[in-house]
């Protein structure tokens, strides 16, 4: 009983006082033939004190806190899923429990292979929650040299967010989502006004707050036209 009280008392202060924020990094490197590499990084380093404290508990606010083993299992599942996805190869995963940074990367034969990775999850989500998310997140038209990052907003996200307890909402306060796309050809034009093109015109970066995406105030949608 005292051990639990001890944990809870100390953790209460750590959890209350330490900040919580995270960063998601989405990187795609595209070759002219439509093949390339994708990497997703989840960086929770800025919240590591809080996460370390949370991970000492089984659950908080009714949510189960995953253990290191749970996270390892999930990463393994993701890897297995990627191995089964056609056109996907060179799968690599990194995990850093000291800083709580996790990433997974792979090569793809064509952009549709990336969509196939998430298709099953999105279809399930749409069926379960009645959402209408698109199963196509990326597309590349070689003839027009147009790379598209699709993003379909669904009001359900906002509704779900507003239904969260205020404590849970705070998790998204300082969270950011960064997309970086690299090309062999130069970028002619980008449709998203928040996206920046690098001076050598071969890379595009779009940085948004996760909260803006949840509330539908900003979008990841971006049509990137390349110079043929």
């Amino acid at each position: 009983m005292l051990r639990k009280s001890f944990n809870y008392l100390v953790l209460f202060f750590c959890i209350s006082l330490c900040t919580s924020c995270f960063e998601i990094l989405e990187e795609v490197t595209l070759k002219p033939d439509g093949s390339g590499a994708v990497m997703i990084t989840f960086n929770m380093s800025k919240s590591k004190s809080k996460i370390a404290s949370l991970m000492l508990l089984d659950s908080v606010n009714g949510y189960k806190i995953p253990s290191e083993d749970d996270i390892d299992e999930t990463l393994k599942d993701v890897q297995l899923h990627l191995e089964k996805t056609p056109g996907i190869s060179n799968i690599k995963k990194t995990k850093d429990y000291k800083n709580y940074i996790f990433s997974i990367s792979c090569d793809f034969k064509n952009v549709d292979n990336i969509n196939a990775i998430f298709k099953e999850i999105i279809v399930k989500q749409n069926k379960k929650e009645g959402t209408n998310f698109s199963t196509t997140n990326f597309s590349y038209d070689k003839t027009s040299s147009m790379f598209k990052r699709h993003f379909k907003y669904d009001q359900v996200v906002k509704k779900t967010f507003y239904n969260l307890k205020s404590e849970d909402k705070k998790v998204f306060n300082d969270a950011s989502y960064t997309c970086i796309y690299r090309f062999a050809d130069k970028v002619k034009n980008v449709s998203n006004k928040n996206a920046k093109v690098s001076p050598n015109q071969t890379a595009v970066m779009l940085r948004t707050q996760v909260l803006d995406l949840i509330l539908g105030e900003k979008s990841l949608e971006n049509n990137i036209e390349l110079i043929k």
Partner: protein, 619 residues
């Protein structure tokens, strides 16, 4: 003259008690909750409440809901200066919840009832009532009181559901299928048709039987509904003369007494409540294991009761609870709480720096001695399940293997956790630095976080065991030893604080501040503790204290969520401390008390304080 005095006094008593709704609560009620209107109004008047933000919001909603027929809370017609009650009565399989609310007139109430619902109002004498649906509550009122009465026959509802959702799936007859293989196709077809007809016949018979059973249960439910309405009238009309009220229940009268609290809660005989609410039939029907067959609920909770009183006074809000056990359980529990407190703990506590503490004063020897007896009592002997034999075996092994006195030498049972400081510490994190081409490299940044400093102390007389464990830790490179203090280095990754361990004065210390541990080790630590806190920690089985004001003032404003930052000064001026004390067992009772210090600027009493705090957060 004298002969008229007694009838006169009797009539006066009835007249005075006419408004006292407590007489309507039956003597065999299991739970009684009372809000003393007069005491509450003494603290915050209806007018003051109406002017508060929450009161204004309530009035606004009320006006909206009643198409402005009700302009303020007073027009609702409740007699706020009288006592409001709730009671729960449990009989086998039947639970009755009842709210009793004093009224000045029924006009306000009628204004809250929508026109379409007014058609449902029925009258019996001067009593008006609405029966809401087949299983909804009965709402009954006159000019003196409003009663909401909900009676549920759990047994009947359960029986109804089990019949209604019994689809009577027949088991697949494997033998018949094997036999059918030997038959010709035509014969098989003929047999299948015959079986189909038989099945259909059985289904029809089952459906008919089911309809009959459901009709019989519906009839019972209807009779129960009539009975419940009759009971509702009986409760509504009850007086101290016609009914044996809860005031005739000696347990209730003794527990509640004549306190000046604003709210009281009393619950009696948990075992009865458990048996009435969760009847054995519920488990029998589902085919599951019935905990009643294994656990002796009667021994555990028989005659157990709890009383809680919430009292608001000028500077404090206090919640007092008394938990009373039956003789047998009390005899088992008493030695567990009979701990000795190590006075040496006080040498390492400085009240000026103290943000909070949690102490426990139990007897490990008492717990280990009582545990086998408790297990033996909890699990029924000769129960249907073999679990009781398994438990009994486990208990025997436990008793044989454990040396209670020896174990108590290692951990006596008295311990305290202190929150000694909130410190700013620099922590590193990984961020990304992008070049012009959006290639990035990981860089280490630092930020400041507020982290707690804590100290845990427990009594252990076995220095040799402590040394052996520490030596193993050092050899396994989990610990490093320096100047009489061990530092834990093999701790969970990213643990935001350091951990230091040492033993002195028969105390094992685990703390997060190296400076504090060093001072304690050198004997340079300066203790300071008031007599009242010493007494709280030493005399109680468990005690806790949180210095809210100090904690808030030590947290940097930027650590608060943005929406709270402008409230920090208000919170520092208004949030006081919280003290919790749970006494050692006296007789069969365990008393505990939580006191919230509500001293602040501009609050006339603790209830007004709570209202003002709510108001400030509604801005």
């Amino acid at each position: 003259m004298k002969k008229y005095l007694i009838p006169l006094a009797f009539c006066l008593t009835i007249a005075v008690n006419a408004q006292k709704l407590i007489h309507k609560i039956p003597a065999d009620a299991s739970v009684v909750v009372t809000i003393k209107g007069d005491n509450v109004l003494d603290l915050v008047s209806l007018d003051e409440f109406s002017k508060s933000k929450i009161g204004s919001l309530l009035t606004k909603e009320l006006k909206k809901e009643t198409d402005e027929k009700i302009e303020n809370l007073d027009e609702l017609g409740f007699n706020f200066s009288e006592d409001f009650h709730y009671f729960l009565k449990s009989e086998t399989g039947v639970m009755t919840h009842c709210f009793l609310l004093p009224m000045k007139h029924e006009k306000g109430l009628l204004n809250t009832i929508p026109e379409r619902k007014k058609e449902k109002i029925q009258k019996k004498g001067n009593i008006s009532y609405i029966v809401d649906g087949s299983s909804g509550p009965t709402v009954m009122w006159n000019n003196q009181m409003l009663m909401i009465y909900m009676s549920t026959n759990i047994a009947l509802e359960s029986e109804y559901n089990s019949v209604k959702y019994d689809y009577g799936y027949d088991n697949y007859n494997l033998e018949a299928v094997e036999e059918a293989v030997e038959l010709s196709y035509e014969e098989q077809q003929e047999k299948y048709k015959r079986e189909e007809e038989e099945r259909e016949q059985k289904r029809l018979e089952r459906e008919k039987k089911k309809e009959e059973q459901l009709a019989a249960i519906e009839a019972k439910k209807s009779a129960f509904k009539d009975e419940a309405l009759k009971n509702a009238f009986s409760t509504f009309s009850a007086t101290s003369v016609t009914h044996r009220s809860i005031l005739k229940n000696p347990n209730y009268v003794k527990s509640i007494g004549k306190g000046k609290e604003e709210v009281s809660v009393w619950a009696d005989n948990f075992a009865k409540l458990y048996f009435d609410a969760i009847g054995g039939y519920l488990y029998g029907m589902t085919g599951g294991m019935n905990p009643r067959d294994i656990i002796d609920v009667n021994k555990l909770y028989g005659e157990a009761s709890i009383t809680a009183k919430l009292d608001f006074d000028e500077d404090n809000a206090t919640l007092k609870t008394i938990y009373t056990l039956n003789d047998e359980m009390a005899d088992i529990y008493r030695p567990m709480y009979d701990g000795k407190f190590n006075k040496n703990f006080f040498k390492y506590i400085n009240e000026d720096k103290l943000l909070g503490y949690l102490s426990l004063n139990m007897s490990v020897e008492g717990i280990l001695n009582a545990y086998p007896e408790l297990m033996d009592n909890v699990f029924k002997p000769n129960a249907k399940e073999s679990i009781s034999e398994a438990v009994s075996l486990g208990v025997d092994l436990f008793t044989t293997l454990i040396d209670e006195k020896g174990a108590a030498e290692i951990l006596r049972g008295d311990m305290i956790l202190l929150l000694t400081d909130l410190v700013q510490r620099e922590v590193t994190y990984t961020d990304y630095e992008y070049d012009e081409e959006y290639n990035y490299k990981k860089i280490e940044k630092t930020k400041t976080e507020t982290l707690p400093d804590f100290l845990f102390m427990c009594t252990s007389n076995k220095q040799s065991i402590f040394n052996k464990i520490m030596n193993i830790g050092v050899r396994e490179k989990a610990l490093v030893f320096q100047n009489g203090i061990y530092e834990l280095i093999d701790k969970p990754r990213s643990t935001p604080f350091s951990l230091y361990i040492m033993q002195k004065d028969d105390i094992v210390f685990i703390g997060s501040s190296k400076e504090q541990m060093r001072a304690m080790s050198n004997g340079t630590y300066v203790p300071k503790l008031s007599g009242s806190l010493k007494s709280d920690i030493r005399k109680n089985a468990s005690s806790a204290f949180v210095n809210g004001k100090k904690i808030i003032s030590q947290i940097p404003a930027e650590s608060y969520p943005r929406n709270l930052r402008d409230k920090v000064s208000f919170l520092t001026n208004n949030i006081g401390g919280m003290t919790f004390n749970s006494q050692k067992m006296k007789g069969n009772s365990m008393k505990s008390e939580i006191v919230f210090d509500t001293q602040g600027e501009g609050h006339k009493n603790s209830l007004a304080y709570i209202m003002n705090i709510i108001d400030s957060f509604m801005d």
